[in-house]
């Protein structure tokens, strides 16, 4: 039974059945569609380090609060705001593998929008349409990360506020457990506080502008809301990080490097079609605000302005904006469409007159038949959802997709040859490297709040091969570099005699510092490397190989007649013994 129909009757008890459609059909249909939309290959550059941290948490039985995954921040306090979500992700991965992770993402996306649906007004078909629009806006942020938990909790807080304001049901006490849970799942709890604050500010605005009506909260109820907001802000301290949790939003915001270089922190790029739904939703709100006879509520106004501003600053805020804006749009659009649709229907009737067989068009489908049809449609969609999930998230598909995103070959080479670290790695690959190889603490990964602006700037300068890159590598005694083949640093290192290109493919390149090649393993690894590039570069006919004999390195340098020993040493970077072990010797060919 539709709420609008009830309101039109002017009575809560007198209900006019508008449709033979069961009330649950449209919401289920649209949420299944959202599930299908969100069922994707579970890959994200941050997912891997979350999984790794989750595994560590599960193994230790307590949250990881000190960095043990990087060389640059090793031993530093890590405000691990997502420890609970990480443990959940790891557990899901253990139990359900990649399909389990994909199912988790799709379920949470559907759940978050389900909570939004509950806050919307108007006919189900309108709500469904707006929800799909909101889904298109939020879709870019649906990925296997704790951020998704923030979206669900954002929806939950929004729903509690909706009940409080529009249904006059005070369930604000639930904010307390929600914020405690939130601060253990993700640092995005601040979004919930902003939502509460926006409503308090909006209601104050309503009073200041002299707007009345049942939906406007009284001062007493505003104070109550503020009190629960303050309680929420205090309760987020109930987490293993303690007071550090309050610092998280500021730490993240202060990392200026984020906005310039990390896409999700950048302002929207409306050249990309995937980012345009945000604009459509915003413009739809503006258009309906201008056209609708229903005055926009102060809470809606402040909320939309606040979250639209946040979205203009960083596109990662698209999700919260969509979830807030969808109910606002529904509230504005429902009365407008009702009025306009009525006019439209009248004009159609005027044009076609008796040409329409109204008796056929308006004849209701028997309830039983409708139910069978509905269940069939939902069942087919459910099958499609499961089918898509099993298709896009099966391990071999994930592995294949990983090859397009991550340096699978290079990391395989590292795993086989174990050259000495520390490693300087690409930011986007830090998480994957952590997940795949325990032995290499990363230089940097997606934990931007841990690394801070200064280190990230150093990383970016070095990664781009800008002035001072050598100093960055020296400062952290980097012996190994894993970077994108197209990066500026790779181009610089190719020209550096101190560095040897030990592995390369179309995606990634591994460089090894010559001085670090004292271990037999590294040298052995290098021996398998085609030195034709070196030959071409140096103009010398040099090749080398190794025959490790029970700890004794035997190295041949062909063409020794034409090249001095000094040059050979320069080339492979040693003084007396290429492997630093007794027994190593030079042999002329």
């Amino acid at each position: 039974m539709d709420r609008l129909a009830r309101e039109k009757t002017g009575s809560e008890t007198k209900e006019i059945p508008e449709t033979s459609q069961p009330a649950w059909f449209i919401p289920l249909l649209v949420l299944l569609l959202v599930f299908i939309m969100a069922a994707r290959t579970p890959l994200d550059s941050d997912m891997w380090w979350h999984l790794r941290a989750g595994e560590a948490t599960l193994q230790a039985g307590s949250p990881v609060l000190v960095d043990a995954f990087s060389t640059t921040r090793a031993g530093a306090t890590w405000i691990n705001h997502s420890w609970l979500a990480q443990a959940g992700m790891s557990l899901t991965h253990r139990l359900g593998g990649t399909i389990g992770l994909a199912a988790l993402v799709a379920s949470l996306a559907a759940l978050s929008l389900g909570l939004v649906y509950l806050q919307m007004e108007g006919p189900p078909i309108l709500r469904a349409f707006i929800l799909v629009m909101a889904a298109a806006v939020a879709a870019p942020v649906w990925s296997p990360r704790p951020q998704l938990a923030s979206l669900v909790l954002f929806g939950a807080v929004g729903y509690l506020l909706y009940l409080y304001k529009y249904r006059r049901k005070d369930r604000l006490w639930l904010l307390a457990p929600l914020f405690v849970l939130w601060s253990n799942l993700h640092g995005g709890y601040v979004l919930g506080l902003l939502l509460v604050g926006a409503m308090a500010a909006g209601e104050t605005l309503n009073h200041l502008l002299g707007f009345g009506g049942q939906e406007v909260l009284s001062w007493k109820r505003i104070l109550r809301l503020v009190a629960w907001g303050v309680a929420g802000a205090l309760l987020v301290l109930i987490n293993p990080n303690g007071l550090g949790m309050w610092a998280i939003p500021f730490q993240t915001l202060n990392v200026g490097a984020l906005q310039s270089s990390i896409p999700e922190w950048a302002s929207p790029d409306f050249h990309q079609i995937s980012q345009q739904p945000f604009l459509w939703l915003l413009m739809a709100i503006l258009g309906t605000a201008g056209a609708s006879k229903r005055r926009m509520d102060g809470s809606d106004l402040v909320g939309v302005a606040l979250f639209a501003s946040l979205s203009f600053m960083a596109r990662r805020n698209f999700g919260p904006f969509a979830m807030l804006a969808a109910p606002v749009l529904a509230r504005q659009l429902a009365p407008l469409l009702h009025e306009r649709w009525y006019e439209f229907a009248l004009s159609i009737r005027r044009i076609f007159g008796n040409g329409l067989d109204h008796s056929v068009l308006s004849r209701p489908i028997p309830l039983k038949t409708a139910r069978v049809i509905n269940l069939t449609i939902l069942s087919l969609l459910a099958i499609a959802a499961v089918g898509k999930l099993s298709l896009v998230a099966r391990p071999e598909f994930v592995e294949q997709a990983s090859r397009d995103l991550y340096p699978v070959g290079a990391i395989g080479w590292l795993g086989e040859n174990h050259p000495s670290g520390p490693i300087f790695n690409a930011y986007d690959w830090g998480g994957y490297l952590l997940w795949m190889l325990d032995e290499y603490p990363v230089f940097v990964d997606g934990r931007t709040d841990l690394f801070g602006g200064e280190l990230l700037h150093s990383y970016m300068r070095a990664a781009a091969g800008q002035a001072g890159w050598e100093a960055v590598l020296s400062r952290y005694t980097i012996n190994l570099v894993l970077m994108q083949a197209s990066s500026g640093l790779v181009k610089k290192l190719e020209r550096e005699p101190d560095w040897v290109k030990a592995y390369s493919d179309s995606m990634a390149v591994v460089f090894v510092r010559r001085q670090s090649m004292h271990s037999r393993e590294t040298f052995d690894a290098l021996s398998g490397f085609d030195l034709s590039q070196e030959r071409a570069r140096t103009g010398r006919w040099v090749s080398q190989g190794s025959r490790p004999d029970e700890g004794i390195g035997l190295y041949e340098v062909r063409g020794i007649d034409n090249i001095s020993r000094r040059e050979v040493i320069d080339l492979i970077g040693d003084t007396t013994d290429p492997v630093g072990r007794p027994g190593g010797r030079w042999m002329a060919n």
Binding site: M283, G290, R295, M296, L301, K491
Partner: protein, 495 residues
């Protein structure tokens, strides 16, 4: 003596108060080298050849390829202004264009009911938001056309059709001045679809506008040019002015704040605007968010729409002020204010201002190009900085450029290669060899890495340098480098 209320003189005074700082800034802003200079050369070639060039001849890299100059008339206007008075005349023309543009916005705001003070305030706001688009380029001539079209269509909504016949003439001028002429159709067709004026009249005018838009050297091809520019990969990827507006700096913050302010204005104003106004808002808002070069159009619309929505919120008293004003004094004060702005014109300001800013932007390589002209022996193929390209095309016509600000002329691969060389990326030397480059005209600010690399690279000699430019040439085998000439970049010099 009792005087009658005189809104016209008060309007003039308020507009003058708003326009005076705008015009003063327009006079003070230097001429940036990005596009202006090559339009002068284009104008010269059109005049001398009697036709618009259709084949690329200015660059070494795209020579012989077809090229389209939709803004041919603007090129001739620039040339005429240059002949008439050089850079000061061009700056004056920009000031006048902007003056007409903002006067149209003021009048349109007044037309929708705003008081003179509100209209003046909104004009200032629009100027602050749109001032990054005030460069001396063909677009600047289209701003008054847009403003007038907006004013005419706002008037049409209110049943005033007196100036409707001007729209085809505006279209005719616009299509020959700049490729952005479809914007006038966007304005008019939105009005036709959902405006409140006489649609029959507007339909007829729109039909004539379509015909007027055909009166250009390329006929229907002008429409194709518009779409080509919107979708051209080089333009979209490499031209900063075509990039989406990002929330960086005070100007964009002001823009976004005004954009979002549209929601409360729409929500709380008791006035309901015609849907056509919202279509304008949505269409031009989308354009502005898609490319910063479109912000200026949207700022005009924002001013007029804000005026319309704010009127009922702000009007505590009737629009007509009951207090009489002295019309003559108002006109005098306003005129003096506007006249004073001309004192900031280049060529005038130097007479009373010892530290007057130069008319040309410091990154116009006047001295360096002058030095190159005196060294005809440096004739090899040249690699040049993008910013310098326009001036090089103009001042050194015998030396083809490697790349220039006509983004659509060069394929994306060329731009990628440009970035590689400009940043001294991997293989820059090989790239210069492949391109057979013998001469590098680099920008000290934009290409510091390249300049540093060239200084240490064997086979290259630094021949000339000043505060903005460094010129390198290849040295012959075994020969040393001649002495470096240190120039004094002084853009006060009028080329």
């Amino acid at each position: 003596m009792k005087t009658e209320p005189d809104l016209k003189s008060r309007d003039f005074l308020w507009f003058s108060l708003a326009a005076a700082p705008i015009l003063a800034i327009a006079c003070l802003l230097p001429v940036y080298p990005n596009d202006y200079w090559w339009y002068l050369r284009l104008g010269g070639e059109i005049l001398s050849g009697g036709s618009i060039p259709q084949v690329e001849t200015w660059s070494a890299t795209q020579a012989g390829e077809p090229v389209v100059y939709q803004a041919w008339l603007a090129a001739l206007v620039f040339l005429g202004l240059d002949w008439a008075g050089g850079v000061p005349a061009v700056v004056l023309a920009r000031g006048l264009s902007l003056g007409v543009f903002y006067a149209s916005i003021f009048l349109a705001s007044r037309r929708v009911g705003a008081g003179a003070r509100l209209a003046a305030g909104l004009v200032v706001l629009a100027a602050l938001v749109g001032s990054s688009n005030w460069g001396v380029r063909p677009q600047v001539f289209t701003y008054p056309l847009f403003g007038l079209a907006l004013l005419i269509l706002v008037s049409w909504h209110m049943g005033r059709y007196r100036w409707l016949w001007l729209l085809p003439f505006i279209t005719l001028l616009w299509v020959n001045l700049h490729g952005s002429f479809p914007l006038v159709f966007l304005l008019a067709s939105a009005a036709l679809v959902s405006g409140t004026g006489d649609r029959r009249r507007l339909s007829a005018v729109l039909a004539v506008m379509v015909l007027a838009a055909l009166l250009n050297p390329r006929g229907w091809g002008a429409w194709g040019y518009f779409w080509q520019m919107l979708s051209d990969p080089s333009v979209r990827r490499f031209s900063s002015e075509w990039k989406p507006a990002a929330l960086v700096g005070w100007q964009s913050a002001l823009f976004f704040a005004w954009l979002l302010a549209g929601i409360p204005l729409a929500a709380y104003s008791i006035r309901r605007l015609p849907p056509s106004y919202w279509l304008w808002w949505l269409g031009f808002g989308w354009l502005a968010l898609s490319g910063v070069r479109n912000v200026i159009w949207f700022s005009a619309l924002l001013a007029v729409l804000s005026a319309a929505l704010l009127v009922p919120l702000l009007s505590g008293k009737p629009a007509l002020n009951a207090h009489p004003t002295r019309a003559r004094i108002n006109y005098w004060i306003g005129s003096i204010l506007l006249f004073l702005t001309f004192l900031f014109l280049p060529g005038v300001r130097e007479r009373w201002w010892a530290q007057a800013p130069p008319p040309l932007s410091p990154d116009t390589p006047v001295q360096a190009v002058g030095w190159l002209e005196t060294h005809p022996e440096l004739k090899g193929r040249m690699w040049n900085d993008l910013t310098f390209s326009s001036y090089l095309i103009y001042a050194l016509p015998e030396q083809p450029v490697w790349i220039d600000t006509r983004f659509e002329v060069y394929p994306p691969e060329r731009w990628e290669r440009y970035q590689e060389i400009a940043g001294a990326g991997q293989g820059w030397q090989e790239r210069l060899v492949e391109e057979e480059i013998d001469l590098v005209v680099a920008n000290r600010e934009a290409q510091s890495a390249l300049i540093g690399a060239l200084q240490h690279a064997p086979g290259w000699c630094l021949r000339y340098e000043d505060s903005t430019t460094a010129i390198f040439s290849r040295s012959g085998p075994g020969s040393g480098c001649p002495e470096i000439v240190v120039g004094r970049q002084d853009s006060r010099l009028n080329p």
